[in-house]
């Protein structure tokens, strides 16, 4: 039985490094801003990892442990360069890469399904200049389902017994 993971926060960042959605699950809610900073600083490490991966021609999406503060921050980048940043609560246990990859892939799927929502583009001008704006708007307050999917993943991670 692998040790249980606790998700503290999840961040989706667009290819141009604009935040799409930052969701925090840590119990004292006052730290929400902290995870914004964590997500933003992680982009540095992600840049570094991408450069390293580019040198070795690796196409791996999972970027591994980015850094440790009072949470362990993991990174994942989709093929379309949307970064998914996961903050796990620190515990003195080995975190299996496969677990983090599974969570990342679930989050990626949630994101993909939300972006595929045709209503997202209903009012968008048809020229693809604003495509990035459409992608970013997936995380806006208006679209509840994306949040719900992410929250559900968090619940599934934190309560594996229920799953």
């Amino acid at each position: 039985m692998p040790p249980q993971l606790r998700l503290n926060a999840v961040a989706f960042v667009s290819s141009q490094n604009h935040p799409i959605l930052i969701r925090t699950f840590s119990q004292p809610k006052q730290d929400e801003l902290k995870y914004h900073y964590i997500a933003h600083t992680s982009l540095d490490v992600i840049d570094e990892r991408i450069t390293a991966a580019g040198a070795t021609k690796s196409t791996e999406c999972y970027l591994g442990l980015l850094y440790v503060e009072d949470v362990a921050v993991y990174g994942y980048m989709t093929p379309l360069k949307v970064k998914i940043i996961i903050a796990l609560e620190l515990s003195d246990n080995v975190v299996r890469d496969i677990d983090v990859i599974t969570i990342s892939q679930a989050l990626h799927t949630a994101y993909r399904r939300s972006v595929a929502n045709p209503f997202l583009r209903l009012h968008a001008p048809s020229d693809n200049v604003t495509d990035h704006a459409v992608v970013v708007s997936a995380g806006s307050q208006k679209w509840k389902l994306f949040r719900e999917r992410v929250d559900e993943i968090c619940r599934a991670v934190t309560l594996p017994a229920a799953a």
Binding site: Q16, N17, H18, P19, I20, I22, L33, H36, Y37, H40, T41, L43, D44, V45, D47, E48, R49, T51, A52, S58, E60, Y62, L63, G64, L65, Y67, V68, E69, A72, L88, L90, S91, D92, N93, V94, V95, R96, D97, I98, D99, V100, L120, R121, L122, H123, A124, P125, S126, D127, T130, A133, V134, V136, S137, G139, S140
Partner: protein, 1257 residues
């Protein structure tokens, strides 16, 4: 690290005392050497260099993982004294063993009675007691003997010298012996180094003297006596190295002995703990308890760890440090053993922290990063737990101060390590093992090392992932902030309750927390900067933000502002609004503190742009603040408007600019709408905007809309429309028409919008767009300009473009598809029609006419100019050219003018394309350029003669033609050859020297088939064979000469005509028979194309030369010449010419005539069988038979066999056996049928059966 005693942290190395290297005093120098210049004394230099070399080789440091055999050298006096080893008992107490003055058992010791171990103990071993003692001494050197000594004098000198040397050596030995006694007491190795001059080294007496000194002084036999003469710097390095090499082992022995001693004591102690515990002599009830057994364990383990460290045995040291640490934890676990907040407790805490650092360091030496980090974390966790018990838990500043110190020490340790050899691991994910690797793993019998690998592949414990020291500095800084927070809370409660909370509190008051935090953040910042590979430096920005916050809290607002400026740039660009919000509000607070009103206005506007609400209950606060600032203050420069560009951050008003169409023609207009809408929150309705200017990208003058809100008190409607009318750029030189002043209410209630409608057009082609909108805010002396983008995208907000359809009621219509933000104006297209007429394909040799017909279907007069480009053709021999309007070219004809065409007028010109050489498609580009004749507006004056006037209204119509070309007449020629039966002229024949001598070599027959292959027919006007007789060939006759009339007619497609031409051939000695003979003439056909309307085209001539001739050559040949018809019973002659055409070989020819009496229809007279005379090359022999036919009809000629024996004879020469000689058959050719095809290679060979003769009765 500075907060801990350096002795407890520094890396230990064996200690070497070095004596006798002190700078010499002047008397010594003058007494020994007597040289006036002390600088030149080689021994002074030698000592100086030795000192340098020994001291410089090792610096006391915490991080020193190298294991070179290097001593910590301490320079001492020659008569240095060691500290007393064991104190004699204070009183006469026989029962007590002796104890060191630092022992807790010694009442005078600082540790008495229950101290653990003091830094002074380590200092004793690093500075007061060495493991080896090196004594440098000069050996006595007698002055050299004067050169002119007699025998007795010499003996005297020797005796004197010996006595003196013996005396001095004895003194030296005594000195060394005394030192030896003191070192022996502590079993310290003593080594003497005797310095002698180079001359002395060669002295034969030196060995004996050294042995004497060693014996006398009682030095060890091994590695105890060195002799050194003044040498160079590098040799000194070698000496120091070899000296240490030799002494390293004794040093290790020394520390091992210490370890053994301590281990013995520990074992004894742990066996009989309480019994051996001596009671203090002052054992009164109130005195503190003596040191407990756990304490002794800590003491002994720590000592052993130190000795192991001296020996360089890191593993052993680590083990003992861990034991000491474990014992310390046990002690801390009980308040009875170590009562909190006592002196001993504080000492023990320092010791525990230091031991912990040492353990981390030793792990890191061995690259066990995760072990080191795990220990560091567990140390902090355990002592956090303990702290709670001690009443200095997480709510106290003491705890956070301690925690900050732990992080900081760890960071400093890493920083030192990184500077030398420590590598921080990169926690890159391990790629999943490949199938091959898994298979190899399964197959491998030993699984030990691979399993560790597999563990890593599974994952990583994040708490064991070592990072660069910047992170730990950052954590230390955060802990320091926590510490400050707790301190401030304590300060509050102190002021309210007037009670002193803890003893450390007054000390804490003196601490400048912010300065510490700032220092830590700055170090973290530098390390992040150094370690970051990203150019953005977002991690640095985060630290910089913390630095700025700290500056803000410590009141250094100007510094904070500088940081904020830099940080905000990236956050704005990457649209991390959530992070910008606290930044902006702190920044604004700074600006307020600094009294920088421009910055305040800027920041407040930016906050409005970010939709930032500082106080959720009072969303108006930002606007109110802004109004208050504008009303109550004066700008620093009232003349200059303050420009606040919010394009990087969010704009104050959301703007969209839409053009109805993106392409219009000159003179038309495109409608546009500019929408400026206010956000629902925060309100900006009170902002006193004075005007709105609209700037266009073209020459259009800007439009200014003035505020009309003062006109009445009515609130502006939700959607306000202002018509701007039709806008056009002014014509050159013409003054813009003064417009009436536009007025609108420039106030925006939440969610309301102002829509500017109008249309835009121009009389000149170009692109028109709105370049920017500028809102001007005016209040008292303040003038603030807010430039806005014509289209402001707001992140995460996708809006459908909408077009205002009506104001009452408000109706919008969505604009699907692409949205135009600019309009392009084109000239009206010219309507001309271009028709190109021709009858492809073109015939080779013809001037092919192409009619270019231009009709002006426009309603303007157009000037037409045509260019024609002929593309080059990549085919060999292809030649083509064009002729148009009198110009000829092979590629481009430019500027053929068609003149000015009035509307409806049409004009055509004929372009001639001449195609020659080879067939193939010719490509032509015809460009028809039209230009309006500017009768209405004269063209603007041309500024530069080179550049055409910019506003000429031209357009171009392009046509591309592909003209295939074919041959009008296809020629097919076949050639046949015939041998000559004439006898060749003899060698000396005088006629051969005549100029017109024709050396007959047979004839060639050329038959030519001319086919009309083109689509349309041609009318042939003349056909002739133009003769061009050569030396080897000439045309004898042909049909055309006599029968030309038959050819002159209209040839239609597929018609064929044939001509036969006879050519006489001649031998030529100068040209070899292999050379081809050029055709002796060509056909020339003049023709006209038959056009579809029945007329005929221009006269064209095609010419085709006769083929090149290649008469066949043969070697030995027999030609049979016989008439075709004979009369019964009248004799005919039959001739056989045997001709040897071989260039070198002669021929030996046998002729045999086979007469079959049954079937033959002839009576033959002549040679039946016989040998001809030998035929030399070039010679021929003629045989004649008379035949009388006896049968009618086609009668077969008698069979004839001609054999050349020559080759056979050649072959038979080696063996002279005669036998029946078989020869080589010679071809017999019937001259009547001698026609050979022209390829020459295979001549038709007639066998012995030749043809027949028609015998008539």
């Amino acid at each position: 690290m500075n907060s801990y005693p350096p002795e407890l942290l520094a890396q230990l190395a064996p200690v070497m005392f070095v004596a006798g290297l002190d700078a010499p005093n002047p008397q010594d120098a003058s007494a020994t050497q007597g040289t006036p210049s002390k600088q030149q004394d080689p021994f002074v230099i030698l000592k100086h260099r030795l000192r340098e070399a020994l001291i410089a080789q090792r610096k006391v440091a915490i991080w020193q993982p190298e294991k070179a055999k290097v001593f910590q050298a301490v320079l001492v006096d020659t008569d240095v004294r060691f500290p007393p080893r064991k104190l004699p008992p204070a009183e006469d107490q026989q029962f007590h063993p002796l104890h060191s003055p630092l022992s807790p058992l010694t009442p005078t010791s600082p540790l008495y009675p229950d101290g653990l171990i003091a830094p002074i103990w380590i200092r004793k071993h690093t500075t007061l007691v060495p493991s080896v003692f090196v004594l440098f001494k000069r050996i006595y050197e007698h002055p050299p003997a004067p050169p002119n000594l007699s025998g007795t004098e010499h003996a005297d000198y020797d005796r004197e010298r010996e006595a003196e040397e013996r005396k001095r050596d004895t003194e030296l030995s005594a000195e060394i012996a005394q030192r030896k006694r003191s070192t022996n007491e502590r079993s310290i190795k003593l080594t003497a180094v005797l310095m002698a001059s180079r001359r002395m080294l060669d002295d034969p007496a030196l060995d004996a003297r050294l042995t004497f000194i060693r014996r006398q002084s009682g030095l060890d036999p091994r590695a105890a006596l060195f002799v050194l003469s003044p040498v160079t710097q590098s040799e000194i390095g070698d000496f120091v190295r070899s000296l240490q090499e030799a002494l390293y082992e004794p040093a290790l022995d020394y520390y091992s002995n210490h370890s053994k001693r301590v281990r013995r004591k520990r074992n004894r102690h742990s066996q009989g703990t309480t019994l051996a515990m001596p009671l203090s002599p002052l054992g009164a009830g109130n005195s503190p308890r003596p040191l407990r057994p756990e304490g002794w364990t800590v003491r002994y383990e720590h000592k052993m760890a130190c000795f192991a460290e001296f020996r360089g045995e890191d593993e052993v040291a680590l083990k003992h440090y861990q034991d000491a640490y474990a014992a310390l934890l046990v002690m801390f676990g009980s308040t009875a053993i170590l009562p909190p907040r006592t002196k001993r407790w504080a000492e023990a805490k320092v010791l525990a922290d230091c031991v912990s650092v040492k353990i981390c360091k030793l792990y890191l030496y061995n690259n066990e990063h995760s072990m080191a980090l795990a220990h560091h974390n567990s140390h902090m966790r355990k002592f956090s737990d303990l702290s709670r018990g001690w009443g200095i838990g997480e709510e106290t500043f003491e705890f956070w101060s301690w925690l900050a110190r732990q992080h900081r020490v760890f960071a400093e340790l890493l920083e030192q390590g990184v500077r030398t050899n420590l590598k921080i691991p990169k926690h890159l994910p391990v790629p999943p093992p490949t199938a091959a690797k898994v298979a190899a793993q399964a197959a491998a019998p030993q699984r030990g090392p691979l399993e560790a690998d597999a563990l890593r592949a599974l994952g990583l414990n994040p708490t064991h992932a070592l990072q660069h020291p910047g992170f730990y500095y950052y954590m230390a800084a955060q802990c320091t902030e926590q510490r400050r927070e707790r301190f401030l809370r304590a300060l509050d409660s102190e002021s309210s309750q007037h009670v002193s909370l803890s003893p450390g509190f007054s000390n804490e008051k003196k601490v400048d927390h912010l300065a510490i935090a700032l220092e830590l953040y700055t170090r973290a910042y530098e390390l992040f900067k150094k370690n970051s590979a990203s150019q953005q430096g977002r991690q640095q920005l985060w630290i910089a933000y913390r630095i700025a916050q700290t500056y803000f809290e410590s009141g250094k607002f100007d510094m904070a502002v500088r940081f904020f400026e830099r940080i905000a740039k990236t956050y704005r660009r990457e649209k991390w609004d959530a992070m910008l919000r606290p930044l902006l509000s702190t920044w604004y607070a700074c600006a307020q503190q600094l009294g920088d009103m421009e910055l305040s206005v800027h920041l407040l506007l930016e906050m409005l742009g970010h939709r930032l609400v500082i106080d959720q209950d009072d969303p108006e606060s930002v606007q109110e603040d802004l109004l208050a600032v504008l009303q109550s203050t004066v700008p620093s420069n009232p003349e200059q408007p303050l420009i606040v560009d919010l394009s990087e951050s969010g704009p104050l008003l959301d703007t969209t600019t839409i053009f109805w169409t993106s392409d219009i023609s000159v003179g038309e207009s495109s409608a546009f709408q500019i929408t400026l809408s206010a956000p629902p929150l925060p309100p900006i309705s009170e902002l006193p905007f004075a005007s709105l200017s609209i700037y266009f990208a073209d020459d259009l003058p800007p439009i200014v809309i003035h505020d009309a809100s003062a006109d009445d008190d009515m609130a502006p409607p939700l959607v306000q429309r202002v018509a701007l009318g039709d806008l056009r750029p002014p014509q050159g030189g013409e003054d813009p028409v003064p417009r009436e002043e536009l007025r609108a209410k420039l106030r925006w209630d939440p969610g309301s919008s102002l829509i500017l409608t109008g249309s835009l057009g121009s009389d000149l082609p170009g692109t028109l767009s709105v370049s920017k909108l500028v809102l001007t805010l005016k209040q008292n002396t303040w003038t603030v300009e807010l430039p806005l983008q014509p289209n402001s995208p707001r992140l995460g907000l996708v809006r459908e473009p909408q077009w205002l359809r009506s104001v009452t009621p408000i109706r919008f219509m969505p604009l699907p598809g692409e949205v135009h933000s600019s309009v392009t104006i084109h000239n009206k297209p010219h309507r001309i029609s271009v028709a190109v007429g021709h009858h492809a394909p073109a015939y080779l040799g013809e001037e092919f006419p192409i009619v270019v017909d231009v009709t002006n279907t426009d309603d303007r007069e157009l000037e037409i100019v045509v260019d024609v480009l002929l593309h080059p053709l990549e085919v060999e021999h292809a030649v083509s050219s064009i002729t148009f309007d009198g110009q000829s070219s092979t590629s481009l004809i430019k500027g053929v003018t068609f003149g000015t065409l009035a509307p409806g007028v049409n004009m055509s010109k004929t372009l001639l394309l001449s195609v020659e050489g080879a067939i193939g498609d010719r490509t032509l580009d015809i460009s028809v350029q039209s230009q309006t004749t500017s009768t209405t507006a004269p063209p603007p004056p041309v500024t530069s003669p080179d550049s055409p006037p910019l506003h000429t209204d031209t357009s171009e119509t392009l046509r591309t033609l592909v003209i295939p070309s074919v041959e009008p007449i296809k020629f097919e020629q076949t050639v046949k050859y015939r041998r000559s039966t004439k006898k060749a002229a003899g060698l000396a024949d005088i006629a051969t020297f005549e100029d017109d001598f024709w050396d007959d070599a047979g004839e060639a027959y050329v038959s030519t088939v001319m086919t009309c292959s083109g689509q349309s027919g041609i009318s042939v006007e003349s056909v002739k064979l133009v003769r061009k007789d050569g030396p080897r060939a000439k045309v004898v006759d042909c049909f055309i000469d006599t029968d030309e009339e038959d050819f002159l007619s209209e040839w239609l497609s597929g018609d064929e005509f044939c001509d036969q031409c006879r050519i006489a051939l001649s031998r030529d000695e100068e040209s070899s028979p292999e050379d081809l003979i050029p055709g002796p003439g060509h056909y020339e056909i003049s023709w006209r194309r038959l056009l579809s309307d029945g007329s005929k085209g221009s006269l064209s001539t095609s010419s085709f030369s006769l083929p090149r001739l290649e008469p066949p050559t043969d070697g030995l040949i027999a030609l049979l010449d016989i008439p075709s018809v004979a009369k019964l019973h009248s004799p005919v002659s039959m001739h056989l010419i045997v001709r040897n055409n071989r260039p070198t070989r002669s021929a030996n020819v046998v002729v045999q005539l086979d007469l079959d009496p049954v079937t033959d229809g002839f009576i033959v007279s002549g040679l039946r069988q016989g040998r001809l005379p030998v035929l030399m090359p070039g010679a021929e022999e003629r045989l004649t038979w008379n035949l009388i036919p006896v049968e009618c009809g086609y009668v077969k000629i008698p069979k004839m066999k001609v054999t050349d024996r020559r080759a056979v004879i050649d072959a038979q020469l080696p063996n002279a056996s005669g036998g029946k000689a078989e020869g080589e058959d010679v071809a017999v050719v019937d001259v009547r049928m001698d026609v050979q095809p022209g390829d020459g290679a295979s001549a038709v060979v007639y066998g012995p059966r030749t043809g027949t003769i028609l015998v008539l009765p």
